[in-house]
């Protein structure tokens, strides 16, 4: 392995993996993308439009894909095992190939919380209960018999996030703004519909997010109800009855809806935990991979040659993920420059 261009295995070809591959390729390294799914682009490829500018998700993914066209990309490929070598790592892939590399970049992303685990919300039980991902797919395909022409639509924030009972105490960070984005899109699609958002807190921290909130209130007349939905039931006509407490007035509220959208949260990717264990990288209390330092070295692990980018270390927005991918590429460059 002496005197060759360093090879960097990138696990996951979502936006983090693609962006890091692009940067590493430009820096003269040899990145190799390994993707479990048959296509690249990850979760973002399934999304329709991105906040805050409502830019098409497909444009971003296509741009990243075209800029990494020269990078060796192995889709539909799983990693059977990762082993530590003296000054590198070897990956045994599902197609039988063994890949020897000098560094590994985890761009393994996240899993979306399985909303059917919150049984009281009725996903998978009642027809009119869908998730944020289902709605995003409907925006893409316009095909979902559950949606129809709703006159009343509800959004439930924090489904599987900030919830000890669901095993996830962390905030998923992007659902507040996603719910508002989707609520506005629903209102634009069905102007006559009443739209309700049930929230615990609204965490609109990012650039232009607050503008989105004001737009949802003032221009779209979306009703924000501070209170966590306690239960969802089905009415005799197939609509869903939602119960919550309106904590601002201190009274229980009840509303009948034609469609209920659950904002499923971001949870750790169990595959990443498995790989981390094999190479001896620590997993944090929240299940995400543990950075060497949560302030100054978020893209570095505590083990030489193992780096992180994107949602493998916690919930991230798209621009944060892209910035981290670039940062990880530079951290890898510094690692090899020091090694000489």
């Amino acid at each position: 392995m002496v005197n060759r261009t360093p090879v960097i295995a990138i696990i996951g070809a979502g936006i983090a993996g693609l962006e890091a591959a692009r940067q590493l390729n430009d820096l003269g390294y040899k990145p190799i993308l390994i993707e479990k799914a048959p296509v690249t682009g990850g979760h973002v490829a399934e999304w329709n439009r991105l906040f805050p500018d409502m830019s098409p998700a497909a444009d971003l993914v296509q741009s990243l894909e075209s800029q990494t066209a020269k990078v060796r990309t192995m889709t539909g490929t799983e990693i059977a095992s990762i082993n530590r070598l003296k000054d590198g790592y070897s990956l045994i892939l599902s197609d039988g190939e063994t890949l020897v590399c000098e560094a590994v970049l985890f761009a393994t992303g996240f899993h979306l919380f399985d909303a059917s685990k919150k049984e009281e919300y009725g996903y998978g039980i009642y027809e009119k209960v869908i998730t944020n991902r289902d709605l995003e797919q409907w925006f893409n395909t316009r095909h979902d018999p559950r949606i129809g022409h709703p006159k009343a639509v509800g959004f439930v924030h924090c489904v599987g996030s900030r919830d000890v009972k669901a095993g996830n105490t962390q905030c998923s960070k992007v659902c507040c703004i996603t719910a508002i984005k989707q609520a506005i899109e629903i209102k634009e699609e069905f102007p006559e519909a009443e739209v309700y958002c049930f929230y615990m807190d609204l965490r609109l921290f990012g650039k232009k997010y607050e503008d989105f909130y004001i737009k949802a209130q003032r221009d779209c007349g979306i009703h924000f109800i501070r209170g966590r939905v306690s239960e969802v039931g089905e009415a005799i006509d197939g609509r869903v009855v939602v119960k919550a407490e309106d904590t601002l007035s201190g009274k229980p509220v009840k509303v009948t809806l034609d469609l209920l959208v659950l904002m499923a949260g971001i949870i750790c990717n169990s595959d990443a935990q498995h790989y981390a264990q094999q190479v001896g990288v620590a997993v944090d209390d929240d299940g995400f991979l543990k950075s060497r330092d949560n302030v100054g070295a978020i893209v570095e692990s505590s083990r030489p040659g193992i780096f992180f980018a994107g949602a493998c270390t916690g919930a991230k927005t798209v621009p944060e993920t892209l910035a981290e991918a670039r940062s990880a590429a530079l951290a890898i460059h510094r690692y090899f420059s020091k090694r000489g």
Partner: protein
């Protein structure tokens, strides 16, 4: 017939049947009312609130929940000093909003 006890009506708000006519009219006339985030700055700064129970936040919310009696009772106690307008983080002209609301009846018709 007196059974020696009575049933209290449910305090739950049913959003399917709530009449929001006055609120809908208010937001036509004062669109900024829609941007209330219920922070409570208005109530906290109100000179009369400790004695009168006046709270612009509760007025705006009460209109959306069909609590007309409470709303009217609060409105009748406002002195229109305008302190709430000075502190609203969303820049709602709360004093003007109260005046507009006082001109509407429960059906949302302008009567004054």
């Amino acid at each position: 017939m007196d059974f020696g006890f009575k049933l209290n009506p449910s305090s739950a708000v049913n959003l399917d049947t709530v009449d929001r006519a006055r609120y809908d009219r208010l937001v036509q006339l004062e669109p900024d009312a829609l941007t209330c985030i219920g922070c409570g700055s208005c109530s906290a700064t109100c000179t009369a609130a400790p004695w009168s129970g006046m709270s612009v936040r509760k007025v705006i919310l009460g209109l959306q929940r069909g609590q007309d009696d409470e709303v009217d009772s609060m409105l009748s106690r406002c002195m229109l000093c305008g302190k709430c307008t000075m502190v609203c983080p969303r820049g709602i002209n709360t004093r003007h909003l109260i005046l507009t609301l006082c001109r509407l009846n429960r059906k949302g018709e302008i009567v004054r």
